[in-house]
């Protein structure tokens, strides 16, 4: 997902939370910090359940969906599969910038 799309979702949620709960949030931080975003998702869901704001729940789900793929695919492969992107066609470039850029 593009950063601009994340920002758009965060901005929408920001407006809803401000209108329906009075809570003020930081849109850019929500789009870039996973911990903060997770806390906002938790709060939005709790408010939705408590006060019946279904749209809050929907937008919280959209924001939550942006959290999982925060790392680029190559990094996910290295971190979770333990494979250093060996299958990628630009394998040489992947290794090019490990332990230095020159």
């Amino acid at each position: 997902m593009l950063p601009s799309e994340k920002i758009a979702i965060a901005a929408h949620l920001h407006v809803l939370l401000r209108r329906k709960t009075g809570r003020v949030t930081d849109t850019e931080w929500m789009a870039s910090n996973a911990d903060y975003a997770a806390e906002i998702v938790r709060f939005a869901r709790a408010s939705a359940e408590k006060d019946g704001h279904t749209d809050l729940g929907e937008w919280a789900a959209k924001l939550e969906a942006t959290l999982a793929p925060t790392l680029p695919p190559a990094t996910i492969a290295e971190k979770f599969i333990g494979v250093a992107s060996t299958a990628l066609p630009n394998d040489a470039n992947q290794h090019r910038y490990i332990r230095g850029i020159r």
Partner: protein
């Protein structure tokens, strides 16, 4: 940096007073305005602007292009902040420590807050430095200010992507006063202890490049590696920025080296020529090295190689012939390629943008080759590799020791590194709440 020769040393030893004898001055003072040289003054003002251009935006672009996207703005902000902070510190303290006679180790306090840099229209007097008696001292102090700025800014390349912005400011600010100004005094003030021993450093091979390179290496060790270093690829954001920065460095270096002649004369012209030749040789040598070893020449390699050549010719610019410059640039291009790759692995330090590999190694190569190739017919002085080595070792040891101490002080005051979450998010967001556009 200056035309330090037997006459200077003799004048220093005898302690002649500018006012009393009207000869070679040994300390800053007032002279009649008509003793200034207009061409020299104009060239020094131009050189000052060129050297500032090397940092703003030269280094900012050069470094900003090499870091990851999430840290570009932090890197650029660091350069701008260092430029402003060091300027104020140089004005307040640094210039007086570096460029007043004092003793062989430190200058005196006569130029604190630029006091005494007078221009007295009615009396027809103007202050000049004994190191540059043909230009106003205000111009000379500003020229030297741009050197203080770029030296501190170079260190930023070693600590990017994980150091707190506040810690970076504390460290570079203290470093500028405690490390840079004294070393400049040792080497460039005619009474400095390395200058009197005969160490040759025309424009700052030791004062600027070895100093910044070694300090960068110490920063890298003390800070520790960035998260994921050695495991994940750290893709540079935009090597086009880096090339643009390298181009600005190349052009600005004419002010750096030819300006260090402190005159618009034949020696400045020669310094300009050898600067260009060495930069070209450095770029070609690095490119060929990379082409042979990696089978591909790279834009980053060319940009790094030209900087390597420029770094190495810096101490030699006013002392060597064009043919020697070709040799110095070529050796530096290969040596710095090794420094930024193989040596970097041997040292096992995450010197993020290879400040030591390029500036440290390039500065050492240049300093030693100056001892080997300095030509008496150009400057009237003969190089001595042993004396040059002494200068290298002295600057290296002092810079390393004091940098480690200042990092410790900084750690006590504000801490050194950002936390893990901030490093993951990137320093643009975590330190500045700013982000690159899409």
């Amino acid at each position: 940096m200056h035309r330090i020769g037997p006459k200077w040393l003799l004048a220093c030893a005898l302690g002649f007073s500018l006012a009393a004898w009207g000869q070679t001055p040994t300390h800053p003072g007032l002279v009649a305005q008509d003793t200034l040289n207009a061409a020299d003054t104009a060239w020094m003002m131009t050189s000052t602007a060129l050297v500032l251009l090397m940092t703003l935006p030269g280094i900012a672009l050069f470094y900003g292009g090499m870091v990851r996207r999430k840290n570009v703005l932090n890197t650029m902000a660091s350069i701008v902040a260092v430029a402003a902070l060091v300027s104020l510190l140089w004005f307040a303290v640094g210039y007086s420590i570096a460029f007043t006679p004092g003793n062989p180790w430190l200058g005196d306090g006569s130029r604190l807050w630029f006091s005494g840099l007078n221009y007295l229209k009615e009396a027809g007097k103007v202050a000049v430095s004994h190191v540059a008696p043909n230009v106003p001292e205000s111009v000379y102090a500003m020229f030297q200010l741009t050197f203080a700025i770029i030296t501190a800014a170079l260190i930023v390349g070693a600590l990017v992507e994980r150091m707190r912005f506040s810690a970076m400011l504390w460290f570079t600010g203290m470093w500028s006063i405690v490390v840079y100004a004294p070393v400049a005094h040792w080497v460039w003030e005619p009474g400095g202890w390395l200058a009197t021993m005969g160490v040759l450093d025309f424009a700052g091979g030791a004062v600027v490049h070895i100093n910044a390179g070694v300090s960068g290496l110490v920063c890298a060790y003390v800070l520790g590696p960035r998260k994921g270093y050695g495991k994940e690829p750290f893709k540079p954001y935009n090597l086009g920025f880096t090339m643009a920065g390298a181009g600005l460095l190349w052009v600005g270096w004419f002010g750096f080296n030819a300006g260090s002649a402190v005159a618009a004369d034949g020696r400045a012209g020669l310094a300009m020529a050898v600067t260009h030749i060495a930069a070209s040789a450095g770029a070609i040598a690095w490119m060929l090295g990379e082409w042979i070893v990696r089978k591909r020449p790279s834009l980053l390699g060319l940009s790094s190689g030209l900087v390597a050549g420029l770094v190495a010719i810096t101490p030699a610019a006013g002392f060597v012939t064009p043919a020697s410059a070709l040799l110095i640039g070529a050796v530096a291009g290969l040596a710095c390629y090794w420094g930024a790759t193989e040596l970097k692995r041997l040292l096992n330090a995450d010197d993020s943008l290879d400040v030591f590999g390029v500036h440290g190694i390039g500065g050492i190569v240049g300093a030693l080759m100056t001892g080997l190739l300095a030509n008496r017919t150009i400057s009237g002085v003969q190089g001595d590799v042993g004396i040059q080595l002494l200068g290298v070792v002295a600057v290296l040891l002092y810079s390393a020791t004091m940098s480690a101490l200042l990092l410790w002080v900084t750690k006590v005051i504000v801490g050194l590194r950002v936390d893990d979450a901030s490093e993951d998010a990137g320093l643009d967001i975590s330190q500045h709440r700013e982000q690159m556009g899409t």
